[in-house]
């Protein structure tokens, strides 16, 4: 069930209405009437919340979306299940334009959208009813609903029997988020869209949540992850989309996207920390990723931008540094011991 964005633009000043879906859409010129300002998001007088977005979300993708605050991430993902409709362009799911209200409500069970702080949307008297809200809205029979709820709670590793009658408001923050998460999973979506799913969680809960998301992706779900954390994006995603002021700034594999460290920095984003360290090492003259260059450090000096040819995570960076150290234990120019110190510096326990 691929989701295709075809030149999608969205404007708060001239939002398209579903009933106009059959008429020709507003022309760009007409949409540029100065009017009310958007209540949040981009620069107050920017016309487009998102502009000319063009990509396809394939089945089995793990797409990361990054961007500065107000760059249109939330607006973009709300197009994916027809909550908002593009002012220009169209969103196709399985080849059907979801500007149509009926088509949009049909796909809502298939495309699960988890908003930021989903625990703030809990409402039912007990966990069971809250998780069952989605499946019931889909019109499933009670025994089917029951199975959905059991499966969903098991997926988020919550105990069905001890929690089913508990009030969601008595749970801890992390458990509340799990319940809210289960509420979306219970609809058995084939695509899961997550807006900052680990914001405000403690490190342990955060990790178990990210592992849960990775596990769901392994089980065959298509996942879209909006995050400010480049480490998470580099580790989990197979594709990354970077937005800048509502425009598509970069789209590609994490290797491709994070190769442009300086450009990312210019729009207020960073690169994964291991990659950042690798870039700085290269800029300092450590011949990473290029064994032949290790013999003549001058060659890396021709690469002042500090971009490396591959994307490093902590393990691969450590391996490479160890390999370099073994290759040239006596070379004075490299001094890998110092880089190890640099990596640890700043910690209070150093």
């Amino acid at each position: 069930m691929p989701i295709v964005f075809e030149g999608v633009s969205y404007s708060y000043t001239a939002p398209a209405k579903p009933k106009d879906a059959k008429k020709p859409r507003i022309k760009a010129k007409e949409a540029s009437i100065p009017g009310e300002r958007p209540a949040w998001g981009n620069a107050p007088d920017a016309l487009w919340a998102i502009h000319d977005i063009d990509f396809t979300l394939e089945d089995g993708d793990f797409l990361g979306i990054a961007g500065h605050t107000g760059s249109g991430k939330s607006t973009l993902i709300q197009h994916m299940n027809g909550l908002i409709h593009p002012t220009l362009g169209r969103v196709l799911i399985d080849g059907t334009d979801i500007a149509d209200k009926k088509a949009a409500s049909r796909i809502r069970g298939k495309v699960g959208l988890v908003f930021q702080y989903p625990e703030h949307q809990l409402f039912a008297a007990n966990v069971y009813d809250d998780v069952a809200f989605g499946p019931r809205n889909l019109g499933l029979p009670p025994d089917e609903v029951d199975r959905c709820v059991r499966d969903a709670l098991a997926q988020v590793s919550l105990d069905f029997d001890s929690l089913r009658t508990a009030s969601p408001f008595e749970l801890s923050g992390g458990q509340q988020r799990r319940v809210a998460f289960a509420g979306v999973l219970a609809m058995r979506p084939s695509t899961l869209i997550l807006d900052e799913p680990v914001a405000g969680l403690d490190p342990a809960t955060r990790n178990s949540f990210l592992n849960l998301i990775a596990e769901l992706h392994r089980q065959g779900l298509t996942v879209v992850l909006v995050s400010h954390n480049m480490n998470d994006l580099a580790r989990l995603c197979n594709r990354v989309l970077v937005l800048k002021e509502g425009q598509q700034f970069a789209l590609g594999s994490p290797q491709e996207v994070f190769a442009h460290a300086d450009e990312l920095k210019a729009i207020g984003l960073g690169v994964p920390s291991a990659q950042g360290l690798a870039n700085r090492l290269v800029a300092q003259g450590v011949p990473l990723g290029d064994i032949s260059a290790a013999l003549s450090p001058r060659r890396t000096a021709a690469n002042p931008e500090g971009a490396t040819k591959r994307l490093y995570d902590i393990e691969s960076l450590a391996d490479e540094l160890a390999a370099l150290y073994k290759a040239q234990p006596a070379a004075g120019a490299i001094q890998p011991e110092e880089t190890v110190h640099e990596g640890q510096a700043g910690g209070p326990y150093a």
């Binding site: 069970g109 959208l113 908003f115 039912a124 809200f133 408001f169």
Partner: protein, 267 residues
């Protein structure tokens, strides 16, 4: 969910009207309403309309924005006009349709009361369009201060009012988010309340209330951290002062009142 229009949302500006003392503005807007209610004929209303539109020009607020801000209340005008058309009888009968009849006096009354209501709403919205909510609550507190002697908690009342007004946009935003989240979970809000719609409504209202309590706790902690105690002796950064602008406003308004009374007597 359509964006919820807020009646008379503050329209930032630096016009003389914006810079008037909020206390004076609050009292004057009451006076303007009294003047409009004084008018007994179209000529009097015409004077009021001229004056009201003049104020909008002075405040540099486009008329379109003015009408937009009172649009949610337009139904009151329509209902009032319709009631007058059908229940005010007299003069020539123009249309007779079953038991319904429209007379010339009914039409006249409908137009008159419709126009009067429109002017009342416009002049009321002018206060909130040109005054920030905090200034309005300050003015409110000052005007209630004399009653504090007989035990009226003037400061608390205005603080409650101010906080409520300040949080309105926040809650509008949150309702929109909750609404979208529940729609994503297959909720349909078009259903009748009797057919399972209560649960739908609950899925909106319960999160809204929990968030209101959450905000209340955070806000009270934040106020506490800033040593707020609300008691007497609290000073302000910007003290309210009456100025020449406010005196002039009294003169202008007296002039308008005189003109309206003259119109009532002469026409």
């Amino acid at each position: 969910m359509p964006e919820i229009a807020i009646i008379g949302r503050y329209w930032p500006g630096t016009s003389p009207l914006h810079r008037m003392d909020p206390r004076a503005k609050l009292l004057m807007s009451l006076a303007v309403m009294a003047v409009i209610l004084c008018a007994q004929g179209f000529v009097g209303l015409g004077v009021c309309a001229f004056f009201t539109f003049g104020l909008f020009v002075l405040a540099r607020i486009p008329l379109k924005a003015a009408f937009k801000s009172i649009a949610p209340l337009a139904f009151i005008i329509v209902i009032a006009a319709l009631l007058n058309i059908f229940f005010e009888q007299g003069g020539q009968t123009l249309v007779q349709w079953g038991f319904l009849q429209i007379s010339s006096k009914g039409l006249y009354q409908a137009a008159f009361s419709g126009l009067r209501l429109l002017l009342l709403l416009l002049s009321m919205s002018l206060l909130t369009l040109t005054t920030a909510t905090l200034d309005i609550t300050d003015a409110f507190e000052h005007l209630l201060a004399p009653f504090a002697r007989i035990g009226l908690p003037a400061h608390e009342l205005s603080m409650i009012m101010g906080i409520a007004l300040k949080f309105l946009p926040q809650f509008v935003f949150e309702v929109q988010t909750i609404y979208r989240a529940q729609i994503s979970r297959g909720a349909t809000f078009a259903k009748s309340p009797l057919k399972g719609g209560f649960q739908m409504l609950g899925s909106l209202m319960v999160p809204l209330f929990t968030s209101a309590f959450r905000h209340a706790e955070t806000l009270s902690a934040a106020m506490d951290a800033r040593c707020y105690h609300g008691g007497p002796g609290r000073t302000r950064l910007h003290d309210l002062r009456f100025g020449s602008r406010d005196r002039n406003a009294v003169f202008v308004l007296s002039g308008v009142l005189a003109a309206v009374i003259a119109a009532n007597l002469l026409v």
